[in-house]
Symmetry: none
Subunit: 134 residues, 4 copies
Amino acid sequence: MQYEISGASRLPIYRQLVEQVREGIARGDLKPQDQLPSVRQMSRDLVVNPNTVARAYTELEREGLVANRPGRGVFVAEPRADLTKDARRKRLIETIDRLLTEAVNLGFSEEEVARLVAARSRQFHWNTPNSAPK
Amino acid sequence: MQYEISGASRLPIYRQLVEQVREGIARGDLKPQDQLPSVRQMSRDLVVNPNTVARAYTELEREGLVANRPGRGVFVAEPRADLTKDARRKRLIETIDRLLTEAVNLGFSEEEVARLVAARSRQFHWNTPNSAPK
Amino acid sequence: MQYEISGASRLPIYRQLVEQVREGIARGDLKPQDQLPSVRQMSRDLVVNPNTVARAYTELEREGLVANRPGRGVFVAEPRADLTKDARRKRLIETIDRLLTEAVNLGFSEEEVARLVAARSRQFHWNTPNSAPK
Amino acid sequence: MQYEISGASRLPIYRQLVEQVREGIARGDLKPQDQLPSVRQMSRDLVVNPNTVARAYTELEREGLVANRPGRGVFVAEPRADLTKDARRKRLIETIDRLLTEAVNLGFSEEEVARLVAARSRQFHWNTPNSAPK
DNA sequence: GTGGTCTAGACCACA
DNA sequence: GTGGTCTAGACCACC
């Protein structure tokens, strides 16, 4: 996978990295057990401070998306479901409401939003209903 | 409308206020020309500094969602749509991708997301396709 | 670039700063990716409160003219044009009418105004018609 | 002439009035010696505080655009030229530069601006070069 | 070092 | 009463 930080973004560098990994996993570009570049490698590639990369990895580990195996590297974790169905629903609904708020404020119609969501969905790597954690 | 701020949130107070007003407008709880609580009133209610409330209102004014009328109060503005279709689309798609990323990471299926989006949509106050800015 | 604020002006300090940066960009004295003086630097130079400078920068960011990169500084943004042609036209015409009103009240003739506008135009850094947003 | 205040404007009411009279004179809708509505009349018509109207008239008198004849009313003044040609030029150029700054920032081309200025000029009531104060 | 947020408290303009 | 501006000074996140 290709990582890049936009010096021009208002987003802190470490957050840009976190987002890219999160999205990489969601799109299926990163699969469980894939190894991420080492902190030093990544920091050289992107010309950023190693501390900044380490911080991004720490954040991702805290979320359970990657696992740090000391001495060997950082790997994409197996999907876990440490949250209850209810907690996960609640979290998703918050994000959905934020999306709908923005859509209404921007003047979109309900249909346009549904259509755009469906269109973008095709680019993601969905769990089959069966494999979804219960 | 009821406003509340949570000290526990990672979101700054003024952003929490902005979000709540935005959502109030999107849900139709706040209608054009409705008066918002005065800066001082709100600052007393929420026990925050008046400057913090004023900052939220200023931000909302810059977005065109409210109009500050010095000496008279702050009011919900008539909906405008100054942004090009392109700029608005781009902004929405970013939010959609964030949503889908989170949904996949949380283990939801494509259908579940579509269903939840449709369900939550009913609580919002959509523009009719005709009145939507082109 | 040289910045200066006049205590005698009826314009608030932060607006004076905003105007000067806007004009600097329009004249081409400030180019995309140029770094502006840091908040603290500028506040020392002009002997104003850092908050006042920060407010000017925030305002400019909301207009899309500069980008604030936390921890790194404030930079001139790449030109964007998110506003619809209509919204931009309306805004410009308001300013034009204010100009013409003043010109008439000051006793200038139509030709003098046109001539002066043309003369001053040469000092600005125009978009080529092709690169202008449609 | 018809006056109106937009409760929705961010501009103070008295300034809205000042602007309308200024523009009325510049467009030729108000001619020298025309009588303006009395403070009480105007305050009733627009449903605003008489103090607010009085304040607008005071401002206009200070600018020399109207003359208050105590006991008889407020009248549009004869065009005067109490400012030197140089002072008037300087003032106009400031406004022109503000216009050009905004035009460039909004992405207009030099030609578009010249065209728009010419178009709007036709709606104003220009002094003939001869009658212009020297 | 950079910008971002918040508080406390002051003074002004507007209605 | 309303909002708008400014200062002083604090603390935090980021690089």
